[in-house]
């Protein structure tokens, strides 16, 4: 049985991962955020407000859908989706953005800022900030801006300031650096609403808590509808927020196997991948200790994934710990399999998934065929693919 109360410990460590690898001046600020979070999260005012928003604004609970046609086509295990793609703004990111924005507002912060990869976190945060009258600034790599222009447009409509990041890889990693740089100008009054279960303590814990509603709902729904727990729960992993969101509630269920699916990009034997837990080594980046894709000198590698939201050289500290404990298995899927799954799911079920989520779908399709029809796989369909539609159409010459 896994001891979940130590995730994290009082210093923000999940085993040897996590912590606060930040300039000393930020320790007090992070601890203030931690204290404020602890102070409000149990209050009924905060819980009621978040619950009300989840129900009437986000549209929770998101349903579980049995993908009958897909399961039949693959042959083998039955495949289910937790439909986070149906949330307002189209992905699971809204779950933690509302929580973070409520907290920022409670703390009297004047500006909320963040990085975004695929733009899902950016759109969700800009949405929450519009709702709560908070100034919002999103940093996004130039390459991602080009690829994800529907989300860029949405952020502009929602009134947030979009800062294009032209340095380094021009993708998610450098967007984090850029947003952090802005944050350091006034950390007392700004709130860095990090976009995943990454960054210094308390963010991996706090974002996990806000996302864990996914697994709480899913476990109860699945039990009620199927009369048993799924055999496997599965999610894609970049930073790891949607995966942690689904996994957390199932951690004590020893019968449930958990699989995180990383982007193998153009192949694990090429430099163009972002399979951090599969190929990485221990390091410290962006404020916390985790597995990193890095060279022998400790320089983060210029990683790559077809899915901008997974294109990151680090990964959430709790995933690193769960990997070492052997509680979660981490596998990878390359661009081609991801695109195949994207198209297959679109055409069998009429569901266009985000490229990120399509990684999990691809891996499920791969293993389901060797399983029996009385076995079940529950996938977190973490986002919808509207943002990727043009990109995929061009890529596949549709």
């Amino acid at each position: 049985m896994i001891e979940t109360s130590l995730m994290p410990d009082e210093n923000g460590y999940f085993g040897e991962y996590g912590g606060q690898i930040i300039p000393p001046e930020l320790i007090q600020i992070m601890n203030d955020i931690n204290d404020a979070y602890d102070e409000i999260r149990h209050t009924s005012a905060f819980q009621d407000e978040l619950a009300d928003l989840n129900k009437h604004y986000v549209g929770r609970p998101s349903p579980i859908y049995y993908a009958k046609k897909l399961s039949k086509q693959v042959g083998g295990a039955r495949i289910f989706f937790k439909r986070e793609d149906l949330n307002h703004t189209g992905a699971h990111k809204i779950n933690h953005c509302l929580g973070e924005a409520l907290l920022a507002k409670h703390m009297g912060k004047t500006k909320v800022l963040a990085e975004t990869g695929a733009g899902q976190h950016g759109v969700a945060l800009a949405t929450a900030c519009a709702l709560m009258d908070l100034e919002c600034e999103i940093h996004m790599g130039e390459i991602d801006i080009e690829k994800e222009h529907p989300n860029v447009t949405k952020m502009k409509i929602l009134g947030c300031k979009l800062v294009p990041v032209t340095r380094g890889t021009k993708t998610l990693k450098d967007a984090v650096d850029s947003a952090f740089e802005e944050y350091l100008k006034d950390p007392v009054n700004y709130f860095y609403a990090i976009g995943s279960v990454v960054g210094p303590h308390p963010f991996p814990r706090m974002v996990r808590d806000f996302q864990s509603i996914v697994g709480k709902e899913a476990r109860a729904q699945f039990l009620e509808e199927q009369g048993k727990l799924p055999d496997i729960v599965m999610a894609c992993v970049g930073g790891g927020s949607n995966a942690i969101g689904l996994f957390t509630e199932f951690l004590p269920d020893e019968s449930v196997e958990m699989i995180g699916v990383e982007p193998a990009g153009k192949g694990l034997d090429t430099p163009d991948n972002a399979a951090t837990l599969t190929l990485g080594s221990k390091g410290a980046l962006h404020g916390f200790k985790c597995y990193n894709l890095q060279d022998d000198n400790g320089e983060p590698l210029p990683v790559y994934s077809i899915a901008s939201g997974l294109d990151y050289p680090g990964v959430g500290p709790q995933h690193c710990y769960l990997k070492d404990l052997g509680r979660v298995r981490y596998e990878s899927v390359d661009d081609k399999a991801c695109l195949d799954a994207f198209m297959t799911l679109s055409r069998t079920e009429g569901i266009i998934p985000a490229l990120e989520s399509a990684h999990a779908v691809a891996y499920a399709m791969d293993i389901a065929k060797d399983m029996s029809p009385d076995q079940t796989i529950l996938i977190n369909l973490s986002g919808r693919g509207d943002k990727d539609a043009d990109f995929v159409a061009e890529r596949l010459s549709l």
Partner: protein
Amino acid sequence: MSRIQSCFAELKESQRVALIPFITAGDSEPALTVPLMHALVESGADLIELGIPFSDPMADGPVIQKAAERALEHNVSLRDVLQMVAEFRQRDAATPVLLMGYLNPVEVMGYEAFSAEAGEAGVDGVLIVDLPPEEGGEILPLLYAHQIDPVFLIAPTSDRSRIQKICDASRGYVYYVSLKGITGAGHLDLDSVARRVSEIREISQLPIGVGFGIKDAATAAAMGKLADAVIVGSAIVNRIAEHQGDAEATIKAVSSFVGELRAGLDR
């Protein structure tokens, strides 16, 4: 007594303020670093802060980021930086050298290996920007054991208990960041620096270096009246950037600027 401690003791004796220039190792090319370090000393530096290039320098502004990028184009690694210090030591056994950088290269090299090899190379101090004292449980004893002084940053936002914690873990000197934000930014507020420096003095006996925002001899002189050391980074790195590709011109420009700063401090 460490080289940094003796350096400050001597300066105090002669009532001088330390001039601490910062350069990034390997900027704009690896062969330039050691000659540049000697030139810094010849033009009046008392201690040298040598940056370890890193691709994600979260607390550095564009000027020092670019310096790291230039060095990384030549694949300058932490071990290369230690090699440069060892080479510098062949001709200069007196001037303290402090390495400044981010945790990951040190983490990947291993704390024990880093502390031992840095000590061996003649490194006197280490400032790891993203390592707060709270996270130093493992590495600090190793640094102390190898006679390497850990130096930490104190920010304008640090409260009294934080300053206390930082001073307790620091050896050699503490580094007061005179501006909020990243390196190379904004304008200085002398009065607030003066207030903060005297607050630090109430808490600690350690010499206080002030950096961030010192652009010329006049600001250096003004800061020198408040602190024990003046640290100049971006303004020097800018001159290295301006003359990249021409080693001789770089050394000349940097030496002349450091000479001006020295004159400003000694006035």
